[in-house]
Symmetry: C2
Subunit: 444 residues, 2 copies
């Protein structure tokens, strides 16, 4: 496909069309497409891209055009774009910025990308407490559009850059012109430290309903603001990471189709191998019961059913608990309350499955004369095991996230293999123990 | 625990302390705690609560105080609070509002809660295109704080309430005072219809980086704005629903500890039973191979290992694909590209697990003289089956979300049981087929 054929003839190319086609276009096609849009539409599209795509796009443009695009970005976004640029080209990207912005960007790059300091914009609207409202408005107008990305809030700082108060622009606008800023500002301030993790920052946004939150360093000086539009990405990204980890792979860290094949296999192979090594214990456990299986092959028939029921109930419980912990709905000290509740739920769910299982076995006896003379005992073995296995699975699945969290691990990534292994191996032990208890003297 | 002992002596109770203790407090304690805070801190805490807790809190307060809290809420939030109130008390809650707001709230309640119309605030800053910038600013000041929740954007409407353009407050503020609004407004507008689902609206916010998006009805009239602070809740909620569905239960729809025990068991029992009914096919499949198991009990030992490996690789693939579809990274037409890629990944991952499995069997032979005379053939059976089972699991796990989506189902909720059942049953068939091929004439 030649780019000139695919895009050039479409005079009336819209932002939406280009945005929709974006993921499947080559770098050259993207650069060409941007060039075909009117400048304001092109800028809207540019701002809607993530930092990775912005970096690629800028590098695909002719050398003379790069500067004007790079300079559109506020310092926090420019820092992300530089960080998404391969190491050898970073110096050149930084070189596109003007001197003061370059300094700001390099300051931001010193912070970890997933800390408040790495998310913040160092440009914000600031006034002094002893200004009158009218002076403050005039002062803000002078700070000019380039200096301040957002003007939802104005921050009141003392000469040491310590945060004294905050005013929404609306509040400033509505206040009496002659009043002092210190008399109209709000002093009940929500702020974060520059080392706070982006998860905590995003929870604070969800809780507080604010549009921007100030970032304070270790010495109590205000360094910048985190705005909610950067946080919506974080919330979606964190959920994606948790979902991928719960699905049993490392977080991919990039859209599915953008992750290289080998890298993707590597990210998935780790957990699959860990799960596999854990599950090898099932072969060991089965080995212990080889004699029982030889004597009553009918027992082997229900092994997949029993262990999958334990696994399903365990992963159901652990998923619910892990998400509730991630959202802050559950804390460590709630563990006992949760486990008690889950054991009760496990008994109820296990009894339900046990009843269905017994009904299934009895139907097969009637329909196909299956499972031999002791079919009733086999049925009770399966039903009884299901109650035990599902209860154990639910309990283990709900308890492990707390244990992992207490030990300092991320429950989302470490829980799945542990629950699976634990529940499958214990499931086999429970099943064959129930079997030897019920079937001793008949089949065993 | 008596509320008066737990809260009253703490003169210096802070918002943070009360917020942290919130989930474990009774209704009476919450109402008392709010009363102990200074009014501005109490209001901040009130705004940070979700609609469910706001409704409960208002109903726990003395009758005389309810009105002042209810009237703090903008119409969209008031509508949510009314919807979170049990049916018999809704009329009374609506009665707390003033007449014009009550009408707005009742209009909003006609929309589905998860549509743009149900999320929107009907109050927004509006100006006419032929006003001068100075007139527009004066007009906005007159609209007053009560009438307009947010002032990030000002919308330019014609007399039929059709949206002509938009101006950020900053742009209006910076524009030349004598220019006409129509000459400075942006006409390249992002908007949504009132029937758009909240998932689509939230994706648009993530894409566009906007703080508010106008809502347009079927006749092209602007009805309100959706603001990003309502959307951060939606993004987190949607992710929670997907995670809970992927974990094999219905979405709980409320925080873990707030869902009643019976309701929770019911939400989980459905999928567990569906999974169980599907997995019963494994017992049928095992039944077909009963003769083989009788002749070579050693085969039964590896059944849990084989099917769990297929299940793990399948759920890994389906989770990655489902999340990528939910984020809009993958579309239906990408299915062939994805499946090809997943089959290649499956062969690679299966070969890895097969090699580990073979090594495990050979070590046990050396260490414990396990698995009899034909250990090498058993080893190759297990290794070969793992390649087949993992490849099939990966392929099925990546293909099914596309198929379900194409048929109009939600991949997140319907995929897990289908993949599990399909992969477990096919895994058994693959395993025993490989076994009869390799072991015919020796063990079988």
């Amino acid at each position: 496909m030649q780019p000139s054929q695919s895009l050039a003839p479409r005079e009336g190319l819209t932002t939406t069309e280009l945005r929709d086609a974006w993921p499947v276009l080559s770098h050259a096609e993207r650069a060409e497409g941007i060039g075909l849009l009117p400048r304001d539409a092109a800028e809207d599209l540019f701002f809607s891209l993530d930092a990775h795509d912005q970096a690629e796009l800028i590098r695909s443009l002719p050398a003379g055009e790069r500067r004007s695009w790079m300079r559109l970005l506020p310092p926090d976004d420019a820092a992300d774009v530089v960080q998404q640029t391969p190491l050898p080209d970073r110096e050149a990207m930084l070189g596109l910025l003007d001197e003061p912005t370059r300094k700001e960007v390099m300051g931001l790059m010193a912070y970890a990308e997933d800390h408040a300091g790495g998310l913040m914009n160092p440009r914000f609207a600031r006034v002094r407490p002893d200004m009158s409202v009218d002076e403050a408005i005039a002062y803000l107008r002078k700070q000019g559009r380039e200096q301040v990305e957002t003007i939802y809030y104005t921050y009141v700082l003392d000469p040491e850059q310590r945060l004294l108060g905050v005013l929404s622009f609306r509040e400033l606008f509505d206040a009496d012109a002659t009043q002092r800023v210190r008399d109209v500002m709000r002093t009940n301030i929500v702020s974060v430290t520059d080392r706070m993790s982006q998860e905590e920052v995003s929870r604070l946004f969800v809780r507080s309903g604010l549009i921007a939150i100030p970032v304070i360093d270790g010495e109590g000086r205000m360094k910048g603001i985190v705005t909610i539009d950067d946080i919506v990405h974080v919330i979606a990204e964190e959920a994606t990471e948790d979902i991928q980890k719960l699905g049993g792979s490392e977080a991919l860290g990039a859209p599915y189709l953008k992750v290289g094949f080998l890298q993707m296999v590597r990210k998935r192979a780790g957990w699959l191998s860990a799960l596999f090594l854990g599950e090898m214990l099932t072969a060991t456990a089965m080995g212990y019961f080889e004699k029982e299986i030889e004597r009553a092959v009918v027992l082997a028939l229900f092994v997949p059913l029993i262990i999958s029921s334990g696994g399903n109930s365990g992963s159901q419980a652990s998923t619910l608990v892990i998400r509730a912990i991630a959202l802050g709905e559950l804390r460590l000290r709630d563990w006992w309350r949760v486990v008690r509740r889950e054991v009760a739920a496990g008994v109820a769910l296990g009894s339900l499955l046990g009843t269905i299982g017994l009904a299934r076995i009895l139907s097969w006896v009637v329909l196909f004369h299956a499972y031999g003379a002791h079919y009733l005992l086999v049925g009770f073995t399966v039903a009884g095991s299901l109650v035990g296995v599902v209860t154990f699975g639910t309990m283990a699945g709900s308890l492990l996230p707390f244990v992992l969290r207490r030990l300092g691990f991320d429950p989302a990534s470490a829980c799945a293999p542990l629950v699976a292994t634990l529940v499958d191996v214990s499931g086999l032990v429970i099943y064959f123990s129930v079997a030897s208890f019920i079937l001793r003297g008949t089949l065993l």
